[in-house]
């Protein structure tokens, strides 16, 4: 047996690799802990649950790269390693380590699927060869290592063709090519990033079906779940609406694909868990195997949640040598784990996109992933599940219709579902939509049923009255009280009252893995209107507020709210249990740990809407905990308060005073606390007048966004006008807020916990970037390294005033601007913030636990050390611009990062370098490219450019930067901008791979031309995988850091060597 096992995490959340790997890693660690095995985890993602102290014995917040992992292996002397729980990051790192002989040299056994098998599944060519040995079909085509080879294959099989890259996920570098030119272009780009691509027949409108498969050491095999994509082949499974189990496959097709799945994994020798994707011809039973992912994946997280089968846990046990018949079903605790779950419900997954957060992003979706999160809805009819899922997305859509979606085109976009519904409501035929989209008529008929009923609700011609029958039918079809009310001219509350009076109440059903055949010992629950009886629910709601608490989770991951809030929710639920309360969790995100059914006493996999929370509150009673799931629960505070529900923590009235801009501003004035001048406007003219008064630049925040990004900085009246004209509607209903944009200010955050108006604990963190880069995109340093003592003192006293005034009793976060020793408050959140896991793990004080205890009324006291630390923690953002074609990667006031990492060091530079590398940044060794806009920025950069030169870097620069630096005595090589139409151009330079890093700082006031050049530079860096810095302060810190530290200086120290917990 093994004594110490190393697990690799997946690092920061990024598009294609998100929270699902926190779920799988956490389950694996749990499974190992049960066996009494010591675990070592390498994962720089500080916001995860797996990097909490309960799960792993040793945690290294270090990059998951061969260099660092080798160091950890040598230091920890582990005897085995798991590669399959940390996504593609862990897998690729593991493959590299195997290749370089590190495992062999250190006598390390790779657990689970053998590396040989993994290599076959990752190399698309080997894979195709391997499957041909057992006569299993893959798409026709070939493999290319050069663009020319790609073209040859294209000629042979005919266009359109699809290209796919190996050793990647999320469809990176894949796409459809309609002709020679397109293929040539795409193949060239793709082959820059990967050594081999598949060029194959484009299987237009074939069905895409996935199976999750488990195989043990002796060859016992099961398929745990099958899933059908609503969108046909060509839309990545991560981009598609997915239904489990499949709906349109008959017995033959279901079991034919199942049998093929088992044959393939037997042939490949998978040990543990894998995912297999099929294409199925809708007109006959022809099929192709698209790929096998020999590791836990996003789909396996979904399958786990959809079925209740703990795939990652079981995979870990198998990795340790156990076999399926020896393991028990974790839900019944009685039957065998060697079984295929039978569902008596269906689940609908819908991805969540945030494309509008990016400037210039293409809106179409396809074989490459762009979504940042997903929701899963459980129902006993497709309409029920689908409409639940739409609401869970939290994108402001209450239903399928009436949302101003442009339905002129049915090309796949993030809004196609709504366009399809709208077309159906306009009586377009199912056949014609099927023809255009390839979405199986079955799904279209189901959607038609929803929209037709909605039309009936809508038409007063029918004189439809509110009857039990109508309401019940509507509820079975998944309509919310709000939507029903809208059509019947009633409020949501009136519909609710009517429903309850007439006994139209959703029923509680268990997810028990066996469709009722055996009783479940766990409480994994959902609500449905397709049922007469609840499986089990308390006879009466709990009237005792202090014996039960319901924690609301954070919903789908999206830009601005992701795994950090899951950590907060999980920690809160754990604390409640420790304190002897019954903990109930509500959440709807399949990529989370909070939706593991053994985490709380009860889990409702449900919507986080007021209606659903009320339904659950009516059943369960107790108190509500709204402070840890981010903005969704926070926004429900006032409604729940008005409804008379018991809420733990700070009063919702205080939350309202913080969230309402006018009230908050008045509060700051009353307390004599500074804030940037601002005003709200109902028309554009007065806004422009105000801007003139306070002076440019100004920060614009519209409350209604048509297209483009919400927040923006305007540097001139013309920019403001243009922005107002293009992007937004300004009216009484949708006012606009204008504030003075303070240039050159430092941004500082304080995270803390208040206890009945007293400041219990706080942590002050400093941003590397000046204000103007969203706090979610900023690099954050704790404890602060460059703040004046005076500033720190002011922040603390100001915070105390606010905590007192609002009688804060729970978590909070305040953002400050500091300039010339003056501080201003820009925002207060009366909830846990994004940085709570970071400050908790860096200071060694669990802020969420403390907050939860305070909220329960405990008189917590303590002396917490959060400023005078002997080390530094740096949190760095993770961007996924490479996934969002066309998006401008420049950092702005609007957040665009998808995840974060944090590392420790003895000083700022060490921690900074580790964090940066953890987010995938490759440090330059020889050459950099500089393009610095604006005189002020150039002057600032001078010192750092000198540093670069003195370190022996070859510096390339564009016209003005070149001239400026040469005049200052720094040798640079002039490169032509694209607009100059001369060579060597920036593009030549980037494409030829001569540059290892680009620093592109754009001036605030940018001309159209300059901006276009800058955009092309930045975008090409992203597309070609060249590290890019777009912020001055970040560039400075980076240059100082790598000029003072070498790789060898970066210490390999575990978390507990820095922080004593």
């Amino acid at each position: 047996m093994f004594k110490k096992i190393l697990i690799l995490g997946s690092g920061a959340l990024k598009i294609g690799e998100a929270g699902e790997f926190d779920y799988s890693g956490s389950q694996a660690l749990k499974a190992l802990k049960e066996e009494g095995i010591k675990t070592v985890l390498v994962n720089p993602n500080i916001a995860t649950i797996q990097t909490s102290k309960e799960l792993a014995d040793k945690i290294y917040f270090l990059p998951v790269t061969p260099y660092f992992v080798t160091k950890v292996i040598e230091k920890e002397k582990v005897d085995a390693i798991f590669l399959s729980f940390g996504g593609q990051t862990a897998l690729n790192c593991g493959l590299a380590l195997e290749k370089s002989g590190v495992f062999k040299k250190n006598n390390i056994q790779v657990l689970g699927t053998p590396v040989k098998s993994i290599e076959i599944t990752e190399d698309r060519e080997l894979f195709a060869k391997s499957l041909s040995e057992i006569s299993i079909k893959v798409p026709k085509g070939g493999f290319a290592k050069t663009p020319n080879q790609a073209l040859e294959i294209g000629e042979k099989i005919g266009y359109p063709v699809l290209i796919r890259a190996g050793f990647s996920l999320g469809g990176l570098g894949s796409g459809v090519c309609g002709n020679k030119q397109e293929l040539s272009k795409m193949a060239t780009t793709a082959l820059k990033q990967t050594s081999q691509i598949a060029v194959e027949e484009y299987l237009k409108h074939w069905k895409e079906v996935e199976y999750e498969v488990v195989r043990d050491n002796t060859g016992n095999k099961i398929t745990v779940c099958n899933m059908e994509n609503f969108d046909p082949l060509g839309i990545h499974t991560g981009e598609s609406i997915v239904i489990a189990p499949s709906q349109t496959l008959n017995n033959f097709q279901y079991h034919m694909l199942r049998r093929l799945a088992l044959q393939v994994i037997e042939h490949l020798g998978i040990v543990g868990e894998c995912n297999i994707q099929f294409a199925l011809n809708p007109e006959n039973n022809d099929y192709r195997v698209i790929e096998v992912n020999a590791r836990l994946s996003r789909s396996s997280a979904l399958a786990s949640k959809a079925t209740g089968y703990p795939l990652a846990y079981i995979a870990a046990k198998i990795g340790l040598g156990k076999n399926l018949p020896d393991l028990k079903n974790r839900v019944t605790l009685k039957t065998s784990a060697f079984f295929e779950p039978a569902l008596d419900y269906l689940v609908v997954k819908i991805p969540r996109w945030d494309l509008q957060k990016f400037v210039g992003a293409e809106e179409t979706i396809g074989s490459e992933m762009k979504s940042v999160g997903e929701v899963m809805a459980i129902g006993r009819s497709f309409p029920e599940g689908l409409q639940k899922a739409v609401r869970m997305l939290d994108i402001g859509q209450d239903g399928l219709l009436g949302n101003h979606v442009d339905d002129t085109k049915l090309t796949p976009t993030s809004e196609r579902l709504f366009a399809v519904a709208q077309r159906l409501s306009k009586d377009e035929s199912v056949e014609s939509i099927y023809h255009e989209t390839g979405i199986d008529p079955w799904f279209l008929y189901q959607i038609k049923e929803i929209v037709e009923f909605e039309k009936v609700l809508d038409s007063s011609a029918f004189g439809l009255r509110m009857t039990s029958e109508v309401i019940l039918k509507a509820k079975k079809l998944g309509f919310s009280d709000k939507v029903i009310g809208k059509y019947l001219d009633k409020t949501e509350e009136e519909i609710r009252k009517y429903r309850k009076k007439n006994g139209i109440i959703p029923k509680v059903k268990h997810i028990d893995t066996l469709a009722g055949e055996f009783p479940a010992k766990t409480n994994y629950l959902y609500l449905t209107y397709h049922g007469e009886e609840s499986d089990s629910s308390p006879a009466k709601p709990d009237q005792n507020y202090s014996s039960k608490a319901i924690v609301l989770g954070s919903g789908p991951y999206r830009i601005g709210s992701s795994v950090e809030f899951d950590w907060c929710s999980v920690t809160a639920a754990q604390t409640l249990r420790q304190k002897g309360l019954e903990a109930v969790v509500i959440n709807c995100n399949p990529e989370t740990v909070s939706t593991d059914y053994d985490l709380a006493d009860k889990l409702y996999f449900e919507e986080l809407t007021f209606e659903r929370v009320s339904d659950i509150y009516d059943i369960e009673g107790g108190s509500l905990v709204l402070s840890f799931g981010g903005q969704i629960p926070n926004n429900l505070a006032m409604d729940c308060f008005r409804a008379g529900y018991k809420i733990l923590g700070t009063s919702p009235e205080s939350i309202d005073r913080a969230e309402d801009r006018n009230k908050f501003s008045a509060l700051l004035d009353k307390l004599g606390i500074g804030q940037p001048p601002w005003q709200s406007f109902k028309n554009s003219e007065s806004a422009i007048k105000f801007a003139k008064k306070i002076g440019y630049p100004v920060l614009v925040r519209p409350s209604y966004v048509l297209s483009g990004s919400a927040m923006n900085v305007a540097y001139s009246p013309s920019a403001l006008k243009k922005y107002l004209r293009k992007a937004t509607e300004v009216s009484a209903e949708y006012p606009l807020v204008l504030s003075k944009f303070v240039e050159g200010a430092k941004e500082i955050e304080i995270d803390g916990v208040g206890k009945k108006g007293e400041l219990l604990i706080y942590a002050i963190s400093e941003h590397v970037e000046n204000a103007g880069v969203h706090s979610g995109d900023a690099t954050i340093v704790l404890p602060p390294q460059r703040l004046f003592l005076e500033t720190v003192r002011r922040i603390k006293t100001t915070t105390k005033k606010i905590v007192y005034e609002l009688n804060i009793n729970g978590p909070f976060n305040i953002q400050f601007l500091a300039k010339n020793n003056q501080i201003m408050v820009i925002e207060l959140n009366l909830r846990a913030s994004r940085s709570f896991p970071f400050v908790s793990k860096v200071t060694g004080n669990n802020f969420v636990e403390l907050a939860t205890r305070v909220m329960l009324g405990e008189d917590v006291n303590g002396d917490y050390k959060t400023i005078d630390l002997d080390y530094v923690g740096v949190k760095a953002p993770q961007f996924s611009f490479n996934r969002i074609k066309g998006a401008d990667p420049r950092l702005r006031v609007e957040m665009s990062s998808t995840g974060e990492v944090a590392c420790f060091g003895d000083d700022l530079y060490e921690a900074y370098l580790k964090s940066l590398m953890s987010s995938g940044f490759k440090l330059p060794k020889e050459s950099v490219f500089l393009s610095i806009g604006g005189q002020k920025n150039k002057l600032e950069m001078l010192f750092y450019a000198e540093k670069l030169a003195s370190l022996g870097f070859k510096i390339y620069a564009t016209e003005n930067t070149h001239k400026f630096l040469m005049e200052s005595g720094i040798k640079t090589i002039r490169i032509y901008k694209i607009s100059e139409k001369k060579h060597p151009s920036v593009l030549d330079l980037l494409r030829d791979g001569d540059v290892e890093m680009a620093i592109n700082i754009s001036d605030g006031i940018i001309s159209q031309k300059g901006e276009t050049d800058g955009y092309i530079i930045r975008r090409n860096c992203v597309d070609l995988g060249i590290p890019l810095i777009t912020n001055l302060e970040a560039a400075e810190t980076l240059i100082l850091a790598f000029s003072s530290k070498k790789m060898e200086d970066l210490q390999i120290k575990a978390w507990d060597e820095y922080v004593i917990n």
Binding site: T248, N250, P325, K334, A342, G531, D535
Partner: protein
């Protein structure tokens, strides 16, 4: 059209009728498979039963051509589902499920809380029940009392209703397997023929040793009802065993084989009906997923020491297969022929044919 299902303990469920507008009664059982309703409905083992499907959407892909069915007609007496899907989609579809049920005179209800019903059956054990349909007006006057005059398929020998009337032959290969048809699923015949043998299908009470048909092995098929009612078949099998003729039993066939060998069978509380039943080979420790549909089981303890337990169910430990230690007699409780369900047990036909 409305409908109700009343169980023998008086519990009732109201729903909507989507099948034939008549009434019926029988033993109410549930199946947890998520696909394969055309196969299940035509499986003769369901004779005399009202089938509850736990998967909440039924009808999705309509009904295919007869050649894909497991017998000539719908065998269940009634069908109960949560949601009936009347807008099916599939390239093989010939009519909707509702149309089919109506064409064959089988009543069916939807809008029933099938999960609550299933849990009821699990806790109480299978029950008899009565399914009635009627107009809204009639429905208002329904008395919901415990059903009387309910048909109980275990109270008589039902094999005559599901077996063939006379001997039929399939294929022309040399080796001949005698299939004792107790309500055989078509896919047993297809599975055998795929393996290059001739199949002689004989009625349930046919005594092959009295006929001039020459055969190399015997397969006792699946079928409905209490195995102990099949007295004639048991007697015939006894004689076959005495002659040491290779014999393979499937489902009811396994129970009949056990009874012929002097063993005993008993009724399970609610049976095994689904596609995810895990069984393990006691000698090789290899486990497979199987399709099952049975309410009775072989009592292993009752069999002599010459018999060994071949497979057991990993969930509840019940017997899933028996095997003679020295003679070519073997049987499984599950369905190696699948349809519906997984094909994992298909190799057992080869295992049997090795002896032939």
């Amino acid at each position: 059209m409305q409908g109700k299902l009343v169980l023998s303990d008086g519990t009732y469920f109201l729903g909507e009728s989507f099948g034939s507008p008549n009434s019926t009664s029988g033993e109410v059982v549930f199946n947890t498979g998520m696909v394969g309703y055309p196969e299940s409905l035509t499986d003769p083992s369901y004779f005399g039963q009202i089938l509850v499907l736990t998967y909440p959407l039924v009808g999705n892909y309509g009904v295919p051509n007869k050649k894909f069915w497991e017998s000539e007609k719908i065998q269940v007496k009634g069908l109960i589902v949560q949601n009936y899907i009347d807008s099916p989609s599939h390239f093989e579809l010939e009519r909707s499920l509702g149309e089919w049920l109506k064409d064959e005179g089988i009543p069916a209800l939807c809008g029933i809380d099938t999960r609550a019903l299933t849990i009821k059956l699990r806790e109480h054990g299978v029950m008899l029940g009565k399914l009635e349909t009627g107009s809204l007006r009639e429905a208002r006057n329904w008395k919901l009392e415990a059903g009387k005059d309910i048909y109980d398929p275990n109270s008589e020998n039902v094999l005559p209703y599901v077996s063939v009337d006379r001997v039929e032959t399939y294929g022309s290969c040399k080796k001949n397997i005698l299939l004792i048809d107790c309500g055989a699923k078509e896919n047993i015949i297809r599975s055998l023929m795929k393996r290059k043998v001739r199949v002689t299908r004989a009625p349930w009470d046919f005594d092959p040793l009295e006929s001039d048909i020459r055969f190399d092995g015997v397969l006792i098929s699946n079928g409905p009802g209490d195995p102990k009612q099949a007295k004639k078949t048991i007697a015939n099998v006894k004689k076959i065993l005495n002659r040491r003729i290779p014999t393979f039993g499937i489902c009811l066939g396994s129970q009949i084989l056990a009874l012929a060998a002097g063993g005993d069978t008993y009724k399970l509380k609610f049976g095994h009906r689904g596609q995810n039943q895990p069984v393990i080979d006691q000698t090789t420790r290899k486990a497979i997923q199987t399709a099952q549909n049975h309410g009775f089981a072989v009592d292993m303890k009752s069999l002599g020491s010459q018999w060994e337990e071949w497979f057991i169910n990993l969930n509840d430990g019940t017997n899933e297969g028996i095997r003679h230690k020295s003679k070519p007699f073997l049987a499984v409780q599950f369905h190696p022929e699948a349809n519906p369900g997984p094909f994992d047990g298909g190799f057992l036909f080869d295992e049997f044919l090795k002896y032939v």
